[in-house]
C-alpha cells in the first residue's frame, strides 16, 4: 500500500517544501545523522526532558524519541490550516459557553441533550456560569492528520489540558543548535514567542476585579506527573510560579499562594490538573492535588482558571462527530478543516456496521486519550477483536469507530536508515481577551515503528520539529 508522503507525495515526486531537506538527506552520510541523533539524545537527557509513562515502573523517566528530520509545511498550507484552527476553536468556545448557558445548541436539535448532559466531563456545577471574558478554552491542542495534499482532517480536539507544547519549543532549540546550516538555507517561522503569547493570553483573562498587577501561576499535580517536565519548563519560560495544590489556599473566596513573604493573591491559574482534582470540597474528596475552596473562588469570579472547568465535553469523541454541525451553527461558515467520517456506536445502524467491519476500523472510547483503550482493527489479532467486541456490546454509547486512516508519512531516521513513518500534527491555539494566536507549526508526532499508526508518546511514539517555511525560498546554496 502506498501512502501520501509529506516529502514525495503519493507518486514519488519531490514536493517543493522538502527540496532542501531532501538534498541534505541525499548528501549527508548516515554516520553524520547517527552522530547528530546521539548528540540530540544527550542534550535532551541533560536538560532533563523526560516523560513518565504510567504503568512502567523502571522507566519512571523516559525520553520521548526525537527524530532529526523535520516535518515541513509551506506557508500557504499553514495559512489555510491556521484559518481552519481559529474557526474551529472559536466554535468550540461558543459551544461550551452555550452548553453551560442558554443551551440553544440543544434546543435547535444540533446536538442531542443526552450526549452532553450524561457526559462524564459535563460539570453541572458550571451551569449558568459565565467564564471571565467569555473564554473557556484558552489553550487548545487540535490533532490534525492528512491523507493527501488537499485536505487536513481533525482527528480529535483537546480542550482540557493539552500537553506537548514544550516539545515543540525544545525540539526547535535542539534542532537550531545541532543543525544551524539547515536554518541558514530555510526560512523557518519561529515558535519561541509562544510562551510570551501564552503569558499575555493568561493575563488578559484575569477577573475584572483583579488588582492592576495580575499574578498568574501554573498549577501542577507535582513532579510524579507524566508531564511535569513540561509544567516546570512552561512556568520557567512564562516567569510564573509553579505551584502545587498545597502552595495555594483560599480565604474569603480569594486564592492566595504561600510565599516567603506571606500570602500573595493569585488571579489566574493555568491549571494542568483535571477538573475532578481541582477542589476536594466540590469534586473528588480524596484529591490531595487540589485546593479546598477553589471552586467557590472561581464561581464568585475572583480567579480565572485556564482552561475553564467543564471544557472536557469538547474532548469527547461522540461530540466530535457533531463538530461540523456545531461550527456551522455558531459561525455560520462551512468548516475549513474536515472531520474524519465517524460511526457513533450509540446509533443502531452504525453499531451494526461497526460490528461487521471491526477488522478494518479504529474503535475508540469516547472519553479515552493517550492511545489507551482503543482498537486498531487491521493490526489486531482475532482474539483482541473478539474481546473488544464484547466491550462495545456492553456499552455501545461509549464507543465511536473510524476508518483506518492512511495517515501521511514523513521520512524518519531509524535503525535501518531513513524510512517513511506515519505522522500527525498537534498545533496549539491560544484564545485570550486579546484575540487568538496559533504558533506556526505545532508538535509533529511520529510512530517510530514501521507501519504503526499509533503516534502517542505513551505508546512509544516520537516527535519531530515542525517547520512552516516560506513558499518561495532561495535555491540551495
Amino acid at each position: 500500500m502506498t501512502f501520501f508522503d509529506e516529502m514525495t507525495g503519493a507518486d514519488g515526486v519531490l514536493r517543493a517544501p522538502y527540496r532542501i531537506i531532501h538534498d541534505w538527506l541525499e548528501t549527508s552520510p548516515p554516520e553524520l545523522l547517527e552522530a547528530r541523533r546521539a548528540q540530540a539524545e544527550h542534550m535532551f537527557r541533560r536538560i532533563g526532558i523526560t516523560f513518565a509513562v504510567y504503568g512502567e515502573k523502571e522507566a519512571a523517566e523516559r525520553l520521548i524519541p526525537f527524530d532529526l528530520i523535520p516535518r515541513i509545511l509551506s506557508q500557504s498550507e499553514w495559512t489555510r490550516l491556521e484559518a481552519g484552527l481559529k474557526q474551529r476553536v472559536t466554535a468550540l468556545n461558543m459551544f461550551i459557553a452555550d452548553v453551560y448557558g442558554a443551551q440553544s445548541v440543544i434546543r435547535a436539535g444540533v446536538v442531542p441533550a443526552d450526549i452532553i448532559l450524561r457526559n462524564a466531563c459535563y460539570r453541572p456545577e458550571m451551569a449558568g456560569f459565565r467564564a471571565p471574558h467569555d473564554i473557556w478554552v484558552h489553550i487548545a491542542g487540535i490533532d490534525i492528520v492528512r491523507v493527501d495534499d488537499k485536505d487536513f482532517y481533525v482527528l480529535e480536539d483537546n480542550a482540557r489540558t493539552p500537553s506537548g507544547v514544550s516539545y515543540m519549543l525544545e525540539n526547535r532549540e535542539v534542532m537550531m543548535r545541532l543543525m544551524p546550516d539547515l536554518f541558514m538555507r530555510n526560512r523557518v517561522a519561529p515558535v519561541e514567542n509562544y510562551t510570551n503569547d501564552l503569558l499575555s493570553c493568561l493575563k488578559s483573562v484575569a477577573p475584572v476585579s483583579a488588582p492592576g498587577d495580575r499574578t498568574a501561576v501554573l498549577l501542577t499535580p507535582g513532579q510524579y506527573n507524566s508531564a511535569y517536565y513540561e509544567h516546570s519548563f512552561l512556568a520557567d519560560r512564562l516567569g510564573v510560579e509553579l505551584v502545587e495544590g498545597g502552595d495555594l489556599f483560599v480565604r474569603d473566596d480569594i486564592v492566595y499562594m504561600r510565599t516567603t513573604r506571606g500570602p500573595q493573591r493569585v488571579d489566574v491559574i493555568y491549571r494542568r490538573i483535571d477538573d475532578e482534582f481541582l477542589d476536594p470540597l466540590v469534586f473528588r474528596p480524596d484529591s490531595a492535588l487540589g485546593v479546598p475552596g477553589l471552586m467557590n473562588a472561581y464561581l464568585n469570579g475572583n480567579v480565572t482558571l485556564a482552561n475553564a472547568v467543564g471544557t472536557g465535553i469538547a474532548d469527547d469523541k461522540a461530540i466530535y462527530t457533531y463538530m461540523p454541525e456545531i461550527i456551522r451553527f455558531f459561525t455560520g461558515e462551512e468548516p475549513i478543516l474536515k472531520n474524519v467520517p465517524t460511526w457513533r456506536c450509540r446509533d443502531a445502524d452504525s453499531l451494526k456496521y461497526v460490528f461487521e467491519h471491526l477488522s478494518e476500523l479504529v474503535v475508540k472510547e469516547v472519553n479515552g486519550s493517550g492511545g489507551y483503550g482503543m482498537l486498531v482493527g487491521p493490526h489486531a489479532t482475532a482474539q483482541q477483536i473478539a474481546e473488544f467486541a464484547l466491550k462495545i456490546k456492553a456499552d455501545p454509547a461509549n464507543y465511536i469507530a473510524q476508518p483506518t486512516l492512511q495517515l501521511s508519512t514523513c521520512p524518519t531516521f531509524c535503525d535501518a536508515g531513513t524510512g517513511p513513518r506515519h505522522v500527525d500534527l498537534r498545533p496549539f491555539v491560544l484564545s485570550g481577551a486579546n484575540g487568538m494566536r496559533v504558533a506556526p507549526g505545532g508538535l509533529t508526532r511520529v510512530a517510530m515503528k514501521e507501519g504503526s499508526l499509533v503516534v502517542n508518546s505513551s505508546q512509544g511514539g516520537g516527535t519531530k520539529d515542525t517547520w512552516v517555511i516560506e513558499d518561495l525560498h532561495h535555491d540551495p546554496l
Partner: protein, 319 residues
C-alpha cells in the same frame, strides 16, 4: 518567592553538602585503615564516619560486622540509609526537580548529570563484589566534584536574591552541622591533655580530622606549627578564615539571613538566633570552651543549629 521553592532550594544545597561530607569521611577512614596498629590504626576506623553522619545505630541494627566493604556500601549506596551518598543525590535531584524553575540551567544540569552518572555506577556495580580501591577513589572524587560543580554553578549563575540566599543558608547550615559532628565524634582526641596521653600516636587521628574537612594544608598556613589538638579545635571552631569552621559558617548564615530580612523589610527569630550563635562562637575563649567541656559546647551548637532550621521553616516555609 513560593515558600516551597525556598524550602527546596535550602534542601538541595544541604543534600549536596552532605554527600560531599560523607565522601570526605570515607576518604579519611580509608587512609586511617591503611595504618599499622602502632600508628593509630586500631581496626575501628569505620566507626567514626558512621557516627559522624549520625547512622551508627541504624548500621548496627542491620549489620553485625564493620568491615570496610560493608560500611562503604552502607555509606555510599544503601537505599535504606537515609543519608547514604546515593540517597543524598537522589533527594537533591528530587528537590531540584521540584524547584526546577528557581534553579539556573547550570545548577540543574550539574545535579541531573550527577544523578545520571550515579545511576550508571549503581547499575554497573555488583554489591557482592567489593569495588577496587581505584574504583572507590574514582567514586569519591566524582562525589566531591559534584559539590564543586553545583556550588560553582550557583555562585557563577544565580541572581543574588532570596533564592540564592536560601540556597546558601542550606549549604552553611549543613556544613556547620558536619563540622560539629566530626568534633563531637573526635572531641576526646582534641582535649588539651591528650597531648601527653596520645603524643605522636594521635597525630594520624588529628590529621585525619583535618583531611576530612580538607584543612590539612590550611592548618599549616594558618599556624605554621606542627599539628596540635587544641589548634585543630581552634581551626574548626573559631577561625573565620577557615571555610568549614563553625564561625565561618555562621558568619555566612547570619549575613544571608540579614540580606533576606532587609529584602523583605522584616527581621525575625531566625535572624536573632543566627546572630546569637555567631556571637557565642566569636566571644568564647579557647579556655572557656575547654573548661565548659568541648563535648557540651559542640552538643549545644548542634542543637542550636537544628533549632535554626526549625525556625527558618516556621518563618519562611509555612505549609
Amino acid at each position: 518567592m513560593l515558600a516551597r521553592s525556598a524550602e527546596n532550594l535550602f534542601w538541595v544545597a544541604r543534600y549536596i553538602e552532605r554527600a560531599d561530607f560523607s565522601a570526605r569521611m570515607i576518604d579519611a577512614a580509608l587512609r586511617l585503615a591503611t595504618l599499622p596498629k602502632a600508628y593509630g590504626g586500631d581496626g575501628n576506623e569505620w566507626v567514626s564516619p558512621l557516627a559522624a553522619v549520625g547512622n551508627l545505630d541504624l548500621f548496627r541494627k542491620v549489620h553485625d560486622k564493620q568491615d570496610q566493604n560493608t560500611v562503604f556500601n552502607f555509606l555510599a549506596f544503601d537505599r535504606e540509609n537515609p543519608s547514604s551518598i546515593r540517597n543524598c543525590i537522589a533527594n537533591a535531584r528530587r528537590a531540584a526537580r521540584a524547584v526546577r524553575t528557581a534553579l539556573t540551567l547550570e545548577m540543574w544540569e550539574s545535579i541531573n548529570a550527577a544523578w545520571l552518572e550515579l545511576s550508571r555506577i549503581e547499575s554497573e556495580r555488583d554489591p557482592k563484589n567489593p569495588m577496587s580501591r581505584e574504583e572507590v577513589d574514582r567514586f569519591l572524587d566524582f562525589v566531591k566534584a559534584i559539590s564543586r560543580d553545583f556550588d560553582g554553578a550557583a555562585y557563577r549563575t544565580m541572581l543574588r536574591d532570596d533564592a540564592y540566599w536560601f540556597n546558601r543558608i542550606g549549604l552553611y547550615a549543613e556544613r556547620a552541622d558536619n563540622t560539629a559532628r566530626i568534633l563531637d565524634v573526635k572531641y576526646h582526641l582534641l582535649l588539651p591533655q591528650s597531648e601527653e596521653i596520645g603524643g605522636t600516636l594521635d597525630y594520624f587521628q588529628w590529621t585525619a580530622i583535618l583531611r576530612s574537612v580538607s584543612a590539612l594544608t590550611a592548618y599549616h598556613w594558618v599556624y605554621r606549627e606542627s599539628v596540635k589538638p587544641w589548634l585543630v579545635m581552634d581551626l574548626l571552631v573559631q577561625r573565620s578564615e577557615m571555610p568549614r569552621s563553625l564561625v565561618s559558617c555562621y558568619e555566612n548564615i547570619a549575613r544571608y539571613l540579614d540580606l533576606i530580612g532587609q529584602h523583605y523589610g522584616q527581621q525575625g527569630p531566625s535572624q536573632r538566633l543566627a546572630r546569637s550563635v555567631h556571637a557565642t562562637l566569636v566571644n568564647s575563649s579557647r579556655e572557656e570552651i575547654f573548661q565548659r567541656g568541648l563535648h557540651e559546647f559542640v552538643t549545644d551548637f548542634i542543637s542550636s543549629n537544628n533549632r535554626l532550621s526549625g525556625m527558618l521553616a516556621e518563618q519562611y516555609f509555612p505549609s
